[in-house]
């Protein structure tokens, strides 16, 4: 910044039902002078993630809601452009919760440096960032996956699902994806190497999807990585094996009142927890940030040698973020949704 005017996107109003473009507003802001212990970044890549929809609502969640009039929260890869902080030098590339903005000031809390030689910078928001860590923790720490088990991964081609499926394949599990549409399903099988992938938009809803899961996993499902709720949850639960594990990572179908109308969870789901002695456990990746070094050590080599691949959907320019976000909530993205906010460092 250093004199430059910044741009940011703020929450203009809380959604009533579905989120709409009018819930966002773009505005300019003047640079604030740095204090000791602070540094300024310019953002390069902004990550858009489904959890942000929850922040737009008022009321209790696992994080404080965004303020109306406040900048939308979000993680970005950024470059340090001005510093009065001993640990962050000019030109460092970092990932932090810098928000939907071209520039931000930070005291370093929750900011980690990324090695731009290890992998492309944007991976710090994807396979080697929060979604990758989420996938790795889900499989290893929560589900405690064992070779030979069968896992169902919803949102299979999304930022988290695609990594969890690939990690599970590398681990020797049988991997069944669930995704929206034939194109995504083909990608999951052909490029990500899933054993099967089912289309949750199939005619016949939960009943037909359940039948397809039964075909793909005739001996049942050991692990369900739950990212979407709704129809898919209903369909998978009936196939869970005794002592199966359900990792509850996202409930995108139920983030809005509209979505809840689609597929109410039935009491059967709770009975199934009892009768199959399932372990159903919620995961929020923030609880596991201390595992970043362990995760990076395990997964960076898999990224470098191509055993973990990914796709990105890129929106150009900060002003494109709101529409890209709304599209993503409806499944319009393919792979990790990014916004190109600034140029790569020279």
């Amino acid at each position: 910044m250093a004199g430059e005017t910044g741009r940011r996107i703020v929450l203009a109003s809380r959604p009533k039902g579905e989120a709409v473009p009018e819930n966002f507003r773009i505005e300019d802001f003047a640079p604030a002078p740095l204090r000791d212990g602070e540094f300024r970044v310019r953002s390069i890549w902004l990550s858009l993630d489904p959890y942000m929809r929850g922040r737009m609502n008022d009321g209790p969640s696992y994080a404080a809601p965004a303020e109306v009039g406040g900048v939308m929260t979000g993680e970005a890869v950024a470059e340090v452009v001005e510093t009065r902080h001993a640990d962050f030098a000019l030109g460092d590339t970092v990932v932090g919760a810098f928000g939907w903005a071209t520039h931000a000031v930070s005291d370093g809390a929750g900011v980690r440096k990324v090695d731009r030689k290890a992998a492309p910078l944007a991976t710090g928001l994807g396979v080697l960032g929060m979604p990758g860590l989420t996938a790795w923790v889900s499989l290893n720490i929560i589900a405690r996956a064992v070779a030979g088990e069968t896992i169902v991964v919803s949102a299979a081609t999304g930022a988290v699902g695609s990594v969890i499926g690939q990690l599970a394949k590398a681990r020797g599990l049988r991997v069944i994806g669930v995704a929206g549409g034939a194109e995504k399903c083909a990608y999951a099988v052909d490029e990500l190497g899933f054993d099967a992938c089912l289309d949750h938009r199939v005619e016949g809803g939960a009943v037909e999807l359940s039948r397809l899961i039964g075909e793909a996993a005739p001996e049942g499902v050991d692990i369900y990585h739950e990212n979407v709720a709704g129809v898919t949850l209903e369909a998978v639960m009936g196939h869970m094996k005794v002592h199966g594990r359900v990792v509850v990572c996202g409930m995108i179908a139920w983030y809005s009142p509209e979505g809840m109308k689609g597929a109410m969870p039935s009491p059967k789901l709770w009975r199934t927890i009892l009768t199959r002695r399932l372990r159903v456990e919620g995961i929020i990746v923030y609880d596991h940030y201390r595992r970043y070094p362990e995760f990076l050590a395990a997964v960076t080599p898999l990224v470098q040698d191509g055993r973990i691949t990914w796709r990105e959907t890129v929106a150009e320019g900060l002003e494109a973020a709101p529409q890209a976000f709304l599209d993503m909530l409806k499944g319009g993205n393919f792979g990790k949704q990014l916004v190109r906010v600034g140029a790569d460092p020279v």
Copy 2:
């Protein structure tokens, strides 16, 4: 038996909605000759338990459904009256799945001996039997309770709930019971030593019950031992602390289609698993039978020195079992529901 005619209660028909007396039939049966490796018992105490309601339905459950025309399954304390089994001697007192019957033949599978000097025989079906083991496993193995935590126990004065609450108190937890009616609540506090007990029949349903739980546990609930589902589950979930544990042990309110009409679980419950990072785990005590010795070693002294107390509701005679069972499903019992089938050993 040895010549005596036995009596047994069979499933006459599957319930449509609520179970009714006509779903049961009492009949006589002739004694079968023993084969090598078998022994015959005469039952003394029969245990009635909510899980039996599930067995009356067809369809998948954690155990095979009872057959129409077959004897109702159930655990009993019994005395060996004839034996061709090397490990079971005449006069041994044993607990096993001998069914709703005056006599039974067994090959010893799943049968354990009980020490009639250690505690009254009927405790082998209660505080020192399956319900006690369930409570002990829930608290120690599933919930991993820690002193200073707050636990909510539904069906607080029932066979499992009363033991879990007393074990939790002995462990240094804060214990909040939920039970049906003022009399049961007073018993939980005055005799079982719970810190508080709330009446789920309170006017205002889940909303009011939730308010009362908030008063009793202003800092939130670490552990919920779930025995009833319905209104209580809805009310407690909103008070779960981050990283809380929900042990799903019974869902009596949802065992019948009628019960399901009362209180459908809302999608909010699933969102709460995510946002609070709960661990929700089903428990079926059969998975934990190998822990009987460990459990008996830990809990028998507490029974002997009076730190664990209990109540029993006794129905007299095998023919009284169906009505006692139906009453129990509606909360008519107070403490462990037993049927006195035969006299104590001399």
